[in-house]
């Protein structure tokens, strides 16, 4: 590009002005402090989550170690279990309680960037051979007031505060020149209104968005800043900050092109901010809840209990049926006898029977939940902050998509776990020390990158298309001679009393 092009000349002029203005220094300072405090909070949260996983894993390991020690002693003939429940060779209680294993969601390299939905869904599930409802709906212990307030995390700074910083620097893009009497002078130069506005917007993008990207990246830099995971996520994070910022700048430009006074521009833009941050999200929330209500957990509790009661009522018949079918099978190493054996088999049959029904109930509930989320996935395009919040949560690894992906894996791991232990309990097969090494292991498969990029791409498209549309409208308006006249001669004190 020609260094003397009107755009570049105007841009360098704008950058010089911004550098001289104390407001831009203040905004830079606010962003630096806000991102640092937010990253401190976010890191604290991410570490807390991982500490919880570590405690759960350590507790599991030590429990299994104790059980295994008892089993070795039992195999050596030096330990006699006091009850079937405490028998380390009993596949039923080992699978149901003593070896129940935490399926954990590992942290991403950018976990500190957004708490997202991770404060509602714990980072691990204690999977057991019990029915799925007992472990897949586990919730973490947390002060409800903290959940209500939400976290001051980097995503909050980006979604809520960043637009205000942009508005503070851009509410008077053209009106300041007009009110200062310099607009007419500027337009005597060979520069179009569009070029002038574009250079102002670009200068602000460079200063505020450049600052925001830099400060957030510095605040979030991980222990391994060259890992693919960190580079990919911080790349997406920065791209989103720019796209989101461009939307707000385009909005400021569009309002500026309407010829309103600085005061009116500031008020309108603050109103827009409130509209997108608060009014649209809460209204669409009401709409989504009305059109596709979330599942009723109260009735789910009753349904699950009914399923359990019915399975219990059928248990005598189920046991008789099982014994008819498999009566002749005798394992080489039986573990239980008499009443204990009957009890264990009955319990295993009740679990298998009720779990089939319970899984159906849970799937129906999840389907209703997904119905609402599916609707919201469209409605959120009405509000860029909602889009941005969702995108940043996914980039951080605490969004709905990654959490759902984790839960689906935990569910199938639960099925594997159940299939490993309950048939053994039915066959009355004693677990050996060697079996402990072959218990199913949860191996989390990360969300495919294509899924993450696909989600972010659709959100980026939404943000950029909105920004482009606003830019186009502004450009067309500025091209009209009438606008030029209106901008130059609009009453200077319009709304100045407000």
């Amino acid at each position: 590009m020609n260094p003397n092009s009107p755009f570049l000349v105007s841009l360098s002029h704008e950058l010089r002005l911004l550098r001289a203005e104390s407001l831009s220094t203040l905004i830079g300072l606010i962003l630096a402090v806000a991102f640092s405090y937010a990253a401190w909070n976010g890191t604290g949260w991410a570490q807390r989550q991982q500490r919880a996983v570590a405690v759960a894993v350590a507790s599991h390991d030590s429990h299994v170690h104790d059980t295994l020690t008892h089993l070795s002693a039992m195999e050596a003939g030096t330990y006699r279990p006091p009850s079937a429940f405490l028998n380390p060779a009993n596949p039923l209680w080992i699978g149901l309680r003593h070896a129940s294993t935490p399926a954990a969601l590992p942290a991403t390299a950018l976990q500190a960037a957004a708490v997202g939905q991770s404060d509602l869904f714990p980072p691990y599930l204690n999977v057991s051979a019990d029915t799925r409802d007992t472990w897949s709906l586990q919730e973490d212990v947390e002060n409800p007031s903290n959940l209500l307030a939400g976290a001051f995390d980097p995503a909050f700074v980006a979604v809520v505060l960043l637009p205000l910083m942009l508005i503070a620097l851009s509410y008077d893009l053209l009106s300041a020149e007009r009110e200062g009497g310099t607009l007419a002078l500027l337009l005597t130069q060979p520069v179009s209104l569009t070029t002038l506005l574009a250079s102002k917007v670009t200068a602000r993008a460079v200063v505020v968005l450049g600052g925001a990207s830099l400060f957030s990246a510095l605040a979030l830099v991980s222990a391994d800043p060259f890992s693919t995971d960190f580079l990919l996520r911080i790349g997406l994070w920065t791209t989103l900050i720019w796209a989101y910022g461009l939307f707000w700048l385009a909005l400021c430009a569009a309002i500026s092109s309407q010829g309103v006074s600085s005061a009116a521009g500031a008020l309108i833009l603050c109103g827009m901010w409130l509209l997108f941050q608060l009014i649209i999200p809460t209204l669409t929330g009401v709409l989504a809840q009305t059109v596709r209500p979330s599942p009723s957990r109260a009735s789910m509790v009753s349904e699950i209990r009914t399923a359990q009661d019915q399975a219990r009522q059928r248990s005598n018949a189920s046991l008789a049926h099982y014994l008819r079918e498999h009566g002749d099978e005798h394992p080489d190493t039986p573990v239980l006898h008499g009443h204990d054996l009957d009890d264990a088999r009955r319990r295993a049959l009740i679990l298998l029977d009720s779990n089939t029904r319970i899984e159906r109930i849970l799937d129906e509930q999840e389907m209703r939940r997904q119905d609402q989320l599916g609707l919201v996935a469209w409605l959120r395009f009405l509000s860029p902050p909602v889009l941005m919040q969702d995108a940043l949560s996914e980039v951080a690894g605490s969004g709905e998509i990654r959490l759902r992906h984790f839960h689906a894996q935990a569910d199938s791991f639960g099925a594997r776990w159940r299939t490993y232990f309950l048939p053994k309990a039915l066959r009355n097969e004693a677990l050996s020390s060697g079996d402990y090494a072959h218990f199913p292991v949860f191996d989390y498969q990360g969300l495919p990158i294509s899924k993450l990029i696909g989600e972010i791409a659709s959100i980026l498209t939404g943000l950029l298309v909105s920004a482009a549309l606003l830019g186009l409208i502004t450009h067309r308006r500025l091209k009209k001679p009438a606008t030029r006249e209106q901008l130059l001669f609009a009453p200077r004190h319009l709304m100045s009393s407000t």
């Binding site: 405090y37 604290g44 807390r48 500490r51 919880a52 996983v53 405690v55 507790s59 006091p82 009850s83 405490l86 939905q117 509602l120 709906l137 919730e139 973490d140 212990v141 947390e142 002060n143 409800p144 007031s145 903290n146 959940l147 209500l148 307030a149 939400g150 976290a151 001051f152 909050f156 505060l161 205000l164 005061a263 500031a266 008020l267 409130l274 608060l278 999200p281 809460t282 209204l283 929330g285 009401v286 989504a288 809840q289 599942p295 957990r297 109260a298 009735s299 009753s302 209990r305 009661d309 609402q372 989320l373 919201v376 902050p385 909602v386 919040q389 709905e400 100045s496 009393s497 407000t498």
Partner: protein
């Protein structure tokens, strides 16, 4: 003296009427106010409808659950204790005004043998991320949008008059500055009243006959008057101080932003750092470790053996089989009592940390009153953490009634050691349906004393600020 008073009142009324007339002629303001009113009415209607549906759902689930308890069939009483019941949290009649933490606490808790469970099924888990932007409720509108409206209407109160040159004229007429302030404040208070009245009326109508809801509603309205009243005087004070209307608006908007958006989150995180609560895993681990001292069903546990020895000694027999009562029932009761102490200690400690966090969050409530009004509003609507804990304690008390009744039945009626002993519906019916008595108005008000104090301080401070500002007001 009386005449002077009458003059003062008539001056104030004239000013207020003039301000009111100007406000009512402002088309933009009419629009803003109309929008807020529509949102308010919509929020009230939607909130009430949702609460009503949800209330019925929970009540019917509670009823169904009790029926299931009664019809569980003949079984060992301790098995029945393991089967347990679910306690569903009823929805407070005022929750439609302020749902507080309702979406972030579980809706029910399973009352089973041996352990005090945590609540399950936080409604927020089933909703989208939209929910994190807030819920459209009267509380949100009064806490966030109403102060903004007062700021937008009032920021030019003095600064605008000064810019238009009318302030000089007014003061030259000999109008007292205090009366000027009082008149302008009265007009804004009128606007504030117009926002609060629909909520009061709707709340009163919808909560008729539901315990102390109407008294709580009155207290709630009083708290909002303190909160919004402070904004009236702050706005006028800043307007009198500011060099220009624009500067006044900037300062007030920055304050509003800090109060409504930034500090609630920033203080929450700070409180989390200063009074850290254990993670779920650590809490469970600590509870499990503490419970290792109790014997549960482990008959080889040293505590079990010691207890058995003690019982045998007390009854003067050498074998449990010779006891006149069922030993298993005694052991269960002993184990339960040890469990109660452990649960009380651990849950008590956890809830005390939550209390600390909540009061830390409010430390600046006298200066930025958002945190204080949030606490008072949810507290009086019965939807804050303390009210939740009150319910959790009541549910736990009910669980203990079940445990005690079941163990007592074993002790008194089971032939010692009989493995086939079972009880039936007659025993299950001894357990009444779970009925919750919410805290009294006095209790709720006591919980909110500090927050109400901070709100009063806030209003007092704002009045003092505005008086000082008009005192040094230069035309």
């Amino acid at each position: 003296m009386e005449r002077a008073n009458n003059d003062a009142i008539s001056d104030i009324l004239v000013i207020a009427r003039k301000e009111g007339l100007e406000l009512s002629r402002d088309r933009r303001l009419r629009w803003l106010f109309a929008c807020l009113l529509v949102l308010l009415v919509g929020a009230l209607a939607q909130g009430w409808q949702t609460n009503d549906a949800e209330s019925q759902e929970r009540a019917s689930a509670q009823h169904a659950n009790y029926q299931q308890w009664l019809e569980q069939g003949a079984r060992n009483p301790h098995s029945a204790a393991h089967y347990g019941v679910h306690a569903f949290k009823p929805i407070n009649p005022l929750a439609f005004i302020d749902p507080g933490v309702s979406a972030f606490v579980g809706i029910s808790v399973w009352l089973e043998a041996h352990k005090q469970n945590e609540f399950q099924f936080r409604p927020a888990r089933d909703r989208s991320s939209l929910h994190r932007f807030g819920e459209l409720t009267p509380a949100l509108l009064l806490q966030t949008l109403a102060p903004l409206l007062l700021i937008l209407v009032g920021f030019a109160g003095f600064a605008g008059e000064r810019e238009n040159g009318t302030l000089r004229q007014l003061l030259s007429l000999g109008v007292s500055r205090r009366r000027l302030l009082a008149g302008k404040a009265l007009a804004l208070v009128g606007l504030m009243g117009a926002m609060i009245v629909p909520i009061t009326v709707a709340g009163a109508l919808l909560s008729i006959g539901t315990g102390d809801a109407s008294q709580r509603l009155l207290a709630l309205v009083g708290a909002y008057l303190l909160y919004l009243g402070g904004f009236v005087f702050l706005t006028l004070g800043v307007s009198a101080f500011a060099r220009s209307a624009r500067q006044a608006l900037l300062v007030l908007l920055a304050f509003w932003l800090l109060n409504c958006f930034v500090l609630p989150r920033a203080m929450t995180d700070l409180a989390g750092h200063l009074a850290p609560a254990p993670t779920g895993a650590a809490f469970i681990q600590a509870l499990t470790d503490a419970r290792r001292a109790t014997f549960g069903h482990d008959e080889s546990h040293p505590a079990f053996i010691a207890f058995r020895e003690k019982v045998l000694r007390d009854y003067g027999v050498s074998r449990t089989a010779d006891l006149p009562v069922d030993f298993r029932g005694l052991a269960l009761r002993e184990d339960d009592h040890a469990g109660y102490r452990i649960h009380d200690e651990h849950f008590g400690h956890l809830w005390a940390i939550y209390d600390d966090q909540d009061s830390l969050r409010q430390r600046l409530g006298w200066l930025f009153p958002g945190s204080s009004i949030q606490a008072v509003s949810a507290g009086l609507a019965g939807t804050d953490t303390r009210n939740h804990v009150h319910f959790a304690r009541a549910a736990e008390a009910h669980r203990r009634v079940i445990q005690e009744t079941m163990s007592e039945n074993l002790i008194q009626h089971r032939r010692n050691g009989d493995p086939d002993y079972s009880a039936d519906r007659r025993l299950w019916a001894h357990i009444p349906p779970f009925a919750y008595t919410p805290p009294s108005l006095d209790e709720r008000l006591t919980w909110q004393t500090a927050s109400l104090g901070r709100l009063s301080l806030w209003l007092g401070g704002c009045i003092a600020l505005s008086l000082w500002a008009v005192h040094r007001l230069r035309p």
